[in-house]
Amino acid sequence: MNNRVVITGLGIWSCLGKDLDEVKDALFSGKSGIGMDMERKAWGYRSGLTGIVEKPQLKGLLDRRARVGLSEEAEYAYMATLEAMKNAKMDMSWVEKNEVGILYGNDSSAKAVSEAIDTIRLKKDTTLLGSGSIFQSMNCTVTMNLSTIFKLKGINFTISAACASGSHSIGLGYLMIKWGLQKHIICGGAQEVNPFAFGSFDGLSAFSIREDEPTKASRPFDKNRDGLIPSGGAATLILESYESAIERGAPVLAEVVGYGFSSNGEHISNSNVDGQIRSLRMALNDANLKANDIDYINAHATSTPGGDFAEAQALDAVFGECNTMVSSTKSMTGHECWMAGASEIVYSTLMMQNNFIAPNINFEEGDEASKKLNIVTKTTEKNIDVFLSNSFGFGGTNSSLVMKKIK
């Protein structure tokens, strides 16, 4: 079986905005969502830079039993999913009668785990953790909570693949629907944003320390980049078979046409050009497209010296002759880690729907590798028929997705 797979709903909660309209406007205007968290400095962080993400107010939206199990990232995921289901025209009565699955990317719940351990140490009594702690602490906190809240009856598990988690969730959802195993799957990625979550990452000196200019600190591909800025929130996409979307009268926003993946088989944190090239070529082959069919590339580029250098080489190797337009929305959002692979599909689909390419802000001068790329530095009007999005993670996990406009 080879079903066509489409996106019928999008939802977002990020440092660029709390819904699709806010985020679209921020992308168009090249607005940065980066600021400082002074609590991190008090905790001994090398960098206090972070995406500034508002906390949702769920009282009144969800009952107590549903709320107590939600970790911070699951709260974001709930808000993003609520928006995505609404614009996919999936109401609860329909969902309860149909087999809707969930495959969501998440790779930590550090705040919930840390606070629970602190309580145990202080109180010497595990009962005093309360009933929600376990459901907040597990990596599958998003899928276990959302599958309960939305009464889902299909596939149900979490994808943990470092900073490619969100992208692989979409890739796996695409394969399941393509092969006829599921008709509708909620895909996405979530990322907590708090001092518990990023300490070990900060400890690797991976973060930018351009603290005097927060909105200029994330500068993917720029020669003077000095590290990434952690960020988060959640992004949800409703994936569905084309037949189901038409049958339901759902809006068809884009078609998922290609998924490529690979593992570097080398260093645990260093990027690898060959692994990325294999992922890119696999995605193009799966989509039955050539490099020059891609109108826009949303790069993984996080603003780290080594990572961006490797990706620029990989992109040049595959797309160098096509002069394909490239930008990294992480220049505005920071690195949304487990969420990034999903949020960047949301951002790029918004660009495709509204005929523009969001700028790679703060790019002033390329380095030896990135100067070979066609990096978009100003918001550019452009009809996008096909785009590709890259996501790479620790452990050498790579994922590339190709999306096509439905005509």
């Binding site: 107590r64 107590v68 309360g130």
Partner: protein, 89 residues
């Protein structure tokens, strides 16, 4: 803490934390049914009791608690027991 203060505090957290409508809190009403408590909710009730009154409720104690009045009486008794051990200054 007087008996009235205890009742006021209990009703306060039941309304705030368990989102029970104030008019449903009647001394003779069944606690479990009114609050729609399941096994997980009892765990949260233990946490709230500890943070509000400083004593640990054990699961067996709930067996004897049926109505809101039973609950008030139980808390009152435990607070008095605690006072006897640690006199208020």
């Amino acid at each position: 803490m007087t008996n009235e203060e205890i009742i006021e505090r209990i009703n306060g957290f039941l309304i705030e934390e368990f989102e029970v409508e104030p008019e449903k809190i009647v001394p003779t009403a069944n606690l479990r049914e009114t609050l729609e408590l399941d096994s997980l909710d009892y765990v949260d009730l233990v946490v709230i009791m500890e943070s509000n009154f400083g004593f640990k409720v054990v699961a067996e104690d709930f067996i004897t608690i049926s109505t809101f009045q039973d609950f008030y009486d139980y808390v009152n008794r435990k607070v008095e027991e605690k006072k006897a051990v640690v006199p208020e200054t």
